[in-house]
Each structure stands twice: as C-alpha cells, then as structure tokens.
Symmetry: C2
Subunit: 439 residues, 2 copies
C-alpha cells in the first residue's frame, strides 16, 4: 500500500538468486515492485544436496520470500505461476483464473519493466519418462523425494535380508558428474560408510556402491583439468566409483543401461543437464539449444529495452565473448545489474554499459573435508578448499538465524558423524517396496 | 547380529513414546528385540503444533528410530506396517509381500513377548469424509499439510485482494478445544497478528479470525475448571474467539455448520477426538468405544500374559479404578513397566505387581508466554506456566542436538517475532486456488 501507483512498476518473475538480489537493489527506491514466484520460498540451491542426503532440514536452506523482503515497503510478493509474457503489450499472463479462481480474474499483470528470472530445470535429453525414475535436484520437493528414496533403499534391503536372508546389491547410480553429481556422490558414500553403518543388523550399509556416471572424459568438466583430476582422486578415496566416457542409454526402475552394459540400481539420480524455464520461449525472440534466451549485452531482449532476462534463463556473453556460466554468483550479479540499470534509466542516464560477469572463482565440495576450488590462478584441493567452501556457503546463506542453525548442525555432524534429518516423509507408499526394488 | 537367536524374542510394534521407552529398558539386556514402525522416525508429538504453525521444522521434532536406538546392539529396527496379531500362534502379520515384495515372503514374524504400542489417530465420529476437509494433527505429514493450508489461505486472500480488490474473510476454524486445539488456536493467532502482519500489502493478516469450537461447556475439559477458565481468558486476550457448547454438524470446503449457523472457514482443523489404532481389534479381546484394548492390571490381554498393550491403544485403569489418561507420560510409564515386567519374568520372578500411573501433572501451552499447568495441588497460569512448559518440553525432546537447535529457534522467534519454517511444500497444486477458497 505504501508504494504509490504513479511510480514505474517493475515486475520480477522468480525468487531465486537473480530475482531476489534484483529486488533488494530496488527496495525502498522510487519504483513499485511486484515479485512473483510459484513457490513461497527462496531455496538456497547450493545446499540442496545436503537436504537430499539428510544433513540439513528443508527449513534450514529455504526462507519465505515475504520474510526476506518484508523490510522493503515498495515490494509486493505474489504466489503464482506465470505462463507467458506478451512483450508487445507489456503484460505477464497467468493460466485462466489461476490467481484467484474467480471468473472476473483478468489473468494478467502489466509492467513498465520486467525482470525474468525463472531459472532452469532438468534436461532429460528427449527422455521425459526418465524424470520419474531418476529425479534431479532443483527444489525442496526434489530433495525430500531423493532423501526418501535413498533411505528407503537401505530399509528395503534390511527387510529382505532379515525376512528372506537375501543380500541384494545396494547401488546408487548418479548420472552426470557436474558439481551436484559430485556432491551427491561424495556425501552419499559418507552416509553409508560413516553414519548408517552402525544402525543396521542384517545388512552392511558400507557395502553400498555409489557409482558416478559421466558421459564426458572427466568429472567437473567446467573446472581446470588439474582440479577434475584431484576431485576424482578425492571421490575414489571416499569410495565412490567413477565411470568417465560412459553414456546412459536407458533407465529402468531397477537398473541403468550404459551402452550394452546393465548396471543394477536401487536408486538412480539425475544431474546431467539443465533445460531453461519454458517461459523464455513465449518472448518470441531467439533462444539457444538449452532453451535459454539469447540476450543483448545489457541483458534485455532485442527491441525491448525494458525486458531483462537474467540468471539460468539467460544465454549471456561477456564483452570478450566468453559465455556467462549458469552459477549463483552470475545470477546475483545479473540481478543487481538489471536493477541498477532500471534505476539509472529512471534518473535519465542515457547510455547503458554492458553487463560484465566478474568471476570470483568456483568451489565444489566432495565430502567431509574434501573439495576443489578454482580461484583463477589459485587452485585449492582437499581440506583447505573444503574450509573455504564451508565459510563462503554459510556466509551467503540467506537469513542470520539459518546461518546459526546450519553451523550448529554441521558442527554436530562433523564431530559426531550423525545426520539428524533422516526422515522418510511424503508418499503414502513409504512402507511398500518401491518399484525399483529389484528382485 | 549381536543378539543371539536363542534369547527370548520381544517384538515391539510402534516407535512412539511407549514403544521407544520400552525398547530403551530392554536395550543391552538378555533379550532379542525387534521394533517395527510404519515410519522410520519417532515424532515428538507434543510439539507437532509448532511444525503446523511454521515455528519449527519437521527435522527438529522427529528423530530416526534407528539413530535413537543404534547404541543397543540387541535391538533391530524394521520399517513396516503390521496388519494383525494372532495371539494363538504368537505371530504378527503383514500384508502379503509387504515387507519384501517377494513371493516367498512369509508375511509374519514370531514373538515370545509382544508390546503393542501403535497409538491412536483421529476420530471423525462417523464422518470419514471430513478427514480431507479438516485434517488432524498426529504425524509430520499432517503438520506440513496444515502448515501448507494455513499459509496458502493468506497467499490466496492476498492474490484476490490484489487482482480483484476483494477482501475475503480469512477464518480459521479449529474443532475441539483439548490441548492440541488450544495450542493451534493460540499460536495461529500470534502468527497472524505478530509475524505475517508486516508482510502483506493488499490484506491485513491481523484481521484473520481464529475460532475455537468446543462441543463441551469449557476448553481443556480434562483440566480443573479454574484452569479451563484461565486458559479461555488467555486465549481471548490473544484474540482467539472461543465457542463453547457448539457442536459441528457439517464440514464443507469453505464453511462449517454449527447447528444451523454457517461459519465461513478458509481452513478447518480437527482436534476433536481420537480413535485407537485398528490393530487392537485383531487381538480378538474386548475393546472400548474408542477402539482401545481393555487390558488387565498388568497391561496384558486376557489369557495372554506375554502380550502387552500400552499407550493410547490401551484402555487401562489404575488399581483405584481411575482411568489412565492418553498422554505421553502415561505411555512412557507403561512402556517402561511392560519392559521391566518382561525382564522380571525372565529372571523367574513370579507375581506381577499391577501397573500404577504416577501423575506428574499436566501442562498446556496457549501461546507466547501463555499456558496453564496442573500439578495436582499447584495450579499455574500465564508466563510462569509457559516457562515450565518450555523447559520440560526441551528437556524431553529426544536427541541433544535437537534440543540445541530448538532452543536457538525459539530464542530467535521470541526476540524477533520471526518464524523461519514458513515453507509451502508438497502438493503440486500449491499455486492453484484450493477448493476451500470460497467465492
């Protein structure tokens, strides 16, 4: 109510890193802002794998968007799913009646400026049927579903051993060795060997195999070769089996085909590719193979200097022609750039400087006290890289209270090898043998 | 593997307070124990309402049963749903193939002693169709579903106000004013008035009405009248509307009928009655109206001194004829009694002393710094009762790490009026107007 209706209206779609940081720049400035997301919470995606592997609870890495932005009186937050953008009329559209269920619902909201930041989801490369069999990790719901499957695999193996005397293989197959795949593989191995190994009587969880399958020649393909090599060594040291140059050709409930080889799999996880949000297509401008919108140097779309596309939805290039990577720091920098550009526009500055991504380095964690870090000239591995990763992640975790709690959780986990969030919740078939049970 | 197969086999069904405390007494004793639960986690039920009202995360009030019992090498934990007991053959039964999905699965497990502790769920008094419209609060899944409905009600009202300019009533109707109903009503009012009130632009969450509907003449009917009166005053002071002598006759998606009066309801919650687990019926012995098994003075069933029924599933009486109440301390005491009785049996002690419930008092919290406590001769109200409640609950919270985290969460919530666990997760219809939207 505080924002005057005669102020320019900036609509932000998406409450991830890009959208949220754009909103923060526009907070308490002479604009009216509406941030729309289909979830009510911001998810700290870099730590989703900790929820999937039962180290953290969902509430510890997610924060209600309303709460995060409540101190800015000019920002309205709406829960809703935008289905299209009409750049010719400067409106975003919702499914009919979606917002209110009322026949009088206009189904659209007008903007003066638009920042589109709806990110990406998984890409199954023409096999949408694999989504059910090999979930990916982008949302809190994904993470709790993966946690459920992992924990159930051990419970089912225990039951079969106890009742039938059968020792089934417990294989976890992770497809794709980017940062998420590496994090999942390392953490899952540690849980099996250090947490669960004391808790089962009829099976030995440490016998579980974690197999990381990568189509390319090395893990962490976007990192320098030297760090890929170090990451693979650290993974193997933890007990992960790494298969490079291995292309998955089929996924079934209880196994994965790699070429002609059949790999039994109690649980299969997907971290092999991303597909940009379908909203990009509705803009009517060129998109790339991954569905990302090819943006101008100022992150707008051709012919519409008031429509910005940022984060994982944007195919952006630095002035030197180098592509901007799909990582959180890039999304944050793009969000800030778009917001500042809008504010500059309104104070009548004329020319726009192009967006330049400043690469502060990359970090991938592998497990307890294992990680790799690429700070340009400086490459770190092992414990020191892991410490750097730990402090940077806690520092950026949104919400001071969550930082405190995450530190407590991690200190506890580190010294006791316990993981407290091992809950199987959700689906009512939680006790029935899942279809990927194997026989 | 450590438990020798020639030791007497004690099967415990249910990992609530009764089952868990029985297991602890039997831990590292000369018996072989199998604890079976259909969930993989123990739920600290007295704090479920905090999850339902977004104050705590599920992981903070639930602990994996395997983890809690891992230090006892003679206790096996199995995830599974027992469907029947056959006292004549001393076996418990599972749905066909339920445990393993294997055709060779015998579907039953034999015991020498059985402790049945499967508790109770909601009683809709002949209206099972109300369960979908007015969820109750017994499990983690119940709590996150209630949280989802509460938060969505505010989001939907905001969207309708923003898009259509309509100010819909936001009524929360809570049916049943026992401890759970009182806790939910008080906490919900506080969230609306102190947490959410700063975060919406088009609606005023403080306008939301919380209506506590009780069929009997007073809230907290099992407490002394003086404390019921004090609780009602404290509820009204917080802003809760209390309706005594009001019987719900119908529940619909957007309203509740109380006699002939129609009460619009954005969300309806159920805390009016409990129904014992259906497993009790399969014993073939007398049960009471609530489905509870009428037990002997030693908590066993007639003719089967090796089968104990404890906790909310038992209709037990003290030697003075006073019924044992369905509260956590009673379940804990019964669990310990059953386990000690079994150990005494095995050391050839002959006569069994009857079970005697020792009433340490009752506490019900109402909101921030509001509660009532009944310690027999001592009755407490308000801030001091709330402090007593706080410390007793944190003290009993299973797992030291959870205690630390819950204290951090609460200190944070107390001083900042923030509630961090405000996540809408789960159902994919999270953004569509729920059917109880009203028009």
């Amino acid at each position: 109510m505080e924002a005057r209706n005669d102020l320019p209206h900036v609509v932000i779609v998406g409450g991830g890193f890009g959208g949220l940081y754009a909103a923060r720049v526009l907070g308490n400035k002479p604009v009216r802002v509406t941030l729309i997301d289909k979830k009510n919470h911001h998810t700290f995606q870099p730590l989703l794998y900790q929820v999937a592997t039962a180290g953290l609870s969902p509430g510890e890495i997610a924060a209600p968007i309303r709460g995060v932005l409540s101190r800015y009186r000019n920002i309205e937050v709406l829960l809703g799913e935008v289905t299209a953008v009409d750049p010719s009329r400067n409106v975003i559209q919702f499914a009919r009646n979606e917002l209110t269920g009322d026949p009088g619902d206009p189904g659209e909201i007008a903007f003066d400026y638009l920042i589109l930041a709806t990110g990406a989801s998984h890409n199954y490369f023409g096999h949408p049927e694999w989504a059910r069999l090999a979930p990916g990790l982008k949302t809190i719901e994904d993470a709790t579903e993966i946690r459920r499957r992992i924990l159930l695999a051990f419970e089912l193996a225990e039951r079969r051993a106890r009742v039938l005397g059968k020792q089934d293989p417990i294989n976890f197959v992770i497809v794709g060795a980017g940062p998420t795949g590496v994090e999942l593989a390392g953490t899952l191995t540690e849980i099996a060997r250090r947490v669960l190994n004391q808790e089962f009587h009829s099976i030995d969880p440490a016998r579980a195999r974690v197999i990381l399958v990568e189509a390319g020649p090395r893990v962490l393909p976007t990192y320098p070769e030297e760090l890929s090599h170090s990451a693979e060594e650290q993974l193997k040291h933890l007990g992960v089996e790494v298969m490079n140059n291995a292309r998955v050709t089929q996924i079934e409930p209880d196994h994965v085909m790699i070429g002609d080889a059949r790999l039994p799999a109690a649980v299969t996880l997907w971290s092999a590719g991303v597909q940009a949000s379908p909203l990009g297509k509705t803009l009517g401008v060129p998109i790339d193979r991954a569905g990302r919108v090819i943006v101008e140097p100022d992150l707008t779309i051709p012919g519409h200097p008031n429509i910005f596309v940022i984060g994982d939805l944007a195919d952006a290039k630095n002035p030197d022609g180098k592509p901007v990577p799909g990582v959180s720091p890039a999304a944050i920098q793009m969000g800030r750039y778009a917001a500042h550009t809008i504010l500059d526009d309104l104070t009548a500055k004329k020319s726009r400087k192009p967006f330049v991504y400043f690469d502060k380095g990359s970090l991938a964690t592998i497990g307890r006290a294992a990680a790799v870090a690429d700070f340009g000239k400086i490459h770190l591995s092992g414990y020191i890289a892991w410490l750097a990763w730990l402090f940077i992640h806690i520092f950026f975790l949104i919400g001071f209270k969550n930082r405190l709690i995450v530190i407590t959780e991690w200190a506890w986990a580190y010294f006791t090898f316990q993981r407290g969030a091992r809950l199987i919740t959700g689906n009512s078939d939680a006790v029935a043998p899942p279809e990927h049970s194997g026989t």
